[in-house]
Symmetry: C2
Subunit: 339 residues, 2 copies
DNA sequence: TTGAAAGCGCTAACAC
DNA sequence: GTGTTAGCGCTTTCAA
C-alpha cells in the first residue's frame, strides 16, 4: 500500500478524491508519496467499493448515421471533462434490445446512467423501466417526469423548413420520411410541422405527396424520390426528414436529369457535414448539437449524483435554418432563425 | 448470497461461468436458484476479482469519419458476440493523447486490450509502450512483433486505383492527400502506389500534381482541388486518398463548371456510403471492413486470453476496386479485383 | 483530522 | 465435483 510511504489508508483516499478535511501538511506528504510511487488508484476496486462505475452509456439506433456520430463526439468530450467514460451502444432500432438496456439489463452496474436516443421503443416500455437508472432521452419523446429530455422543437423547425420552401414560391410540396405508426413519433412531429406551415398560409396539403420511409437513410430518400417522380404530377419542392434522405433524393433527381433547385427544391434536416459539400449543397435545419450533447451529459450526471431524483426536465435546444444551394441555387447564402 | 438457495459459493461461480466440472444435477439446482432469485452477477466485483474488465477499447482519430464509424459497427458486433463491451475513444490525432492511451494510461484496468488506429503516434512512441497491454493496430503501421496489425495492402490498392485512371487514357494524374512527414505513413504508402503505377507503364509522375493535405476530409479535398485548378496545366484525373477528399474535390470541380468524369476523373478510397449516393457517385478502393473488424477483435481476444503473448501477426485484409460514375460516367458498372 | 477495520461481490487456490 | 477461505484495492462507517 502506497500509504506506507507516509501516513495511512483512509487519508490517501481523501487526498486522491480531493475531499475537504485534510491538513495541508498531510495532503502534501501524501501527494509526494503518490508521485514518488507512481501510484494510480485502481478504477475497478473503486467502482466496486463505491458502487458506481464512472461510466455512462450512450445508446443510439445507428452509429454510422452522421448525425449521431457528430452528436457522440460532443457527448464524449463533455463526459470526459467530468471524469466519465462513455460506453456506446447501438440498437439498430430493435425495440427488444432497447427495452433490455433500460430494464434490468444484464450490464446494469456497468454504467451509472444512460443517454438514450430511442427509436423502436414505445412509451409503455419506457414507463416500466428500471426506475433507479438515471436516464436522459434524446430526440422527440416527451418526458414523463422521471427522466430528462433534450431535443429541438421538431414541429416548429419543420414548419420553418416548409415555410422556406413556400417562400420560394413553390406550390407542390412533398414530404419524405413520414412514419405513421407507433415508433415513428419523431417523423410524425415533422409531418405536423409540414402541415402547420400549409395551414398558416391557408394552402392545401398535397396528401399524396407525403411519402413514408422505414428509415432516414440515403437509399430511403432515393427510392422515395423515384416514387414521387413516377407520378403524373410530381412535386416542385421536397421536405426531407433528414439530410441523408435529402442526399438520396437529390441523387435520384439528378440521375433523372432534373435540376436542383430549379426544377425541384430540396431541404433536409440535421445539418451533417455531408450536406455542406454535396452537389448541390443541402439547405437544412441545424440543431445545436453541441448544446444538446453538453446538456444531456450535465443533466445525467446531476441525476446520477442525487439521491432524490430531480424532477424530469424538458430541455429545448435551439436550431436554425441554413440555406444552401439545394433551395437557393448557386447564390446560396446563410440566413438564420433561432427556434 | 444466492448460494443459500441450494448449495454453495464456488459452485455458483462455476455454473454462472459455464465451467466444465459440475454435475448435471448440481448445475440444475443452482440454475433454478439463480432463476428464482433473479440473480445477476455483479460485473464490477467479478472484474475486480478476476483482474479483467470485460471491455476493450477502440481508439480512432476521428469518430465522425464515416470510414471509422462503419468499421466500428463491425467491431462492436464482433466484440459483443464474445461477451465484450466496447469502449470508444477519440484522439483527434493528438500524439500525446494517443501515447497516453497505450502507456500507463490512467484508465488502464478499465479495458483489457486496445484496438488502435493511430495517426499522430510515431513508431518510437509505440515502441516504449506498456508491454503488458494487448494491442491490435489498424491501418498502415507494420507490426514490430509485439502486437498484431490488420490492414489492407495500401501500396497495391493505390497502384490499382492509379492504374484504373491510366486505363481510362488519362495522362495528367494528380494525387491529393500526401503527407510527407513522420505521422503521414499511411499517406506515403498511397503515394508509393501512385508512383509504382506510373513506373510500371513507363510514364512520368507529375510531381507538381501531388498535393499535400493535413487530413483526409472534404474541406481538404475541396481546397486541394481548387489549388490544382488554379494551375496553368490542370490534371485530367485525380487519385484522392479518401472518399471524403474525393467528395470535396468533386464539389470544387462542379462549382467551377467542370464535368466529372468527362473533364476530370476522380477516384477515392474507403468505400463509404456517402460515395455511393453522391453526384456523381465515387469510384473507390473498398477495403473489406467486415473482415478487418472481425479479425481485429479475434486477435485481440486471443492476445488477452494468453499468458504468453502470441507472436505479432501481420494480417492483410482484401480490397476491391469499385468503379462508379466519377470515373466511368453514367454507364458505371462494377468491376472487382481482390488484393 | 486521521487510524482501524469491515465489507463491496466475486474469483481462484487449496483442500476435502 | 464441491466446499472453505483468502484476497482483489478501494470506500466508508466508527472511534480515537
Amino acid at each position: 500500500m502506497a500509504k506506507l510511504a507516509g501516513v495511512s489508508s483512509r487519508t490517501v483516499s481523501n487526498v486522491v478524491n480531493g475531499y475537504a478535511n485534510v491538513t495541508e501538511r498531510t495532503r502534501a506528504r501524501v501527494q509526494q508519496a503518490v508521485d514518488q510511487l507512481g501510484y494510480r488508484p485502481n478504477v475497478l476496486a473503486r467502482n466496486l467499493a463505491s458502487g458506481r462505475s464512472g461510466q455512462i452509456a450512450v445508446v443510439v439506433p445507428y452509429l454510422d448515421t452522421p448525425y449521431f456520430s457528430e452528436l457522440l463526439q460532443g457527448i464524449i468530450r463533455a463526459a470526459r471533462v467530468q471524469g466519465y467514460n462513455v460506453l456506446i451502444d447501438q440498437t439498430d432500432g430493435d425495440p427488444e434490445h432497447e427495452r433490455m438496456l433500460i430494464n434490468h439489463g444484464s450490464s446494469r452496474l456497468l454504467f451509472d446512467g444512460v443517454i438514450f436516443s430511442p427509436l423502436g421503443l414505445s412509451q409503455e416500455a419506457l414507463a416500466d423501466r428500471d426506475p433507479d437508472l438515471p436516464l436522459v432521452i434524446l430526440g422527440e419523446r416527451v418526458s414523463d417526469g422521471r427522466f430528462d429530455h433534450v431535443g429541438i422543437d421538431d414541429v416548429t423547425a419543420s414548419r420553418q423548413a416548409t415555410e422556406h420552401l413556400l417562400d420560394l414560391g413553390r406550390t407542390r410540396l412533398a414530404a419524405i420520411g413520414d412514419q405513421p405508426y407507433a415508433t415513428g413519433e419523431c417523423a410524425q412531429l415533422r409531418t405536423r410541422g409540414f402541415r402547420e406551415a400549409h395551414e398558416r398560409r391557408g394552402l392545401p396539403v398535397h396528401e399524396d405527396l407525403i411519402v413514408h420511409t422505414p428509415r432516414f437513410t440515403r437509399p430511403d430518400g432515393a427510392q422515395a424520390m423515384a416514387h414521387l417522380l413516377d407520378r403524373d404530377d410530381p412535386p416542385d419542392a421536397v421536405f426531407c426528414y433528414s439530410d441523408l434522405v435529402a442526399l438520396g433524393a437529390i441523387h435520384t433527381l439528378i440521375a433523372r436529369g432534373l435540376r436542383v433547385p430549379e426544377d425541384v427544391a430540396v431541404i433536409g434536416y440535421d445539418d451533417i457535414e455531408d450536406g455542406r459539400y454535396s452537389n448541390p449543397s443541402v439547405t437544412t435545419i441545424s440543431p445545436d448539437k453541441e448544446m444538446i450533447a453538453t446538456t444531456a451529459v450535465e443533466r445525467l450526471l446531476l441525476r446520477i449524483g442525487s439521491t432524490t431524483p430531480p424532477p424530469g426536465l424538458e430541455v429545448r435546444a435551439p436550431h436554425r435554418l441554413i440555406v444552401r444551394e439545394s433551395t437557393a441555387g448557386s447564390r446560396a447564402s446563410v440566413s438564420a432563425q433561432h427556434g
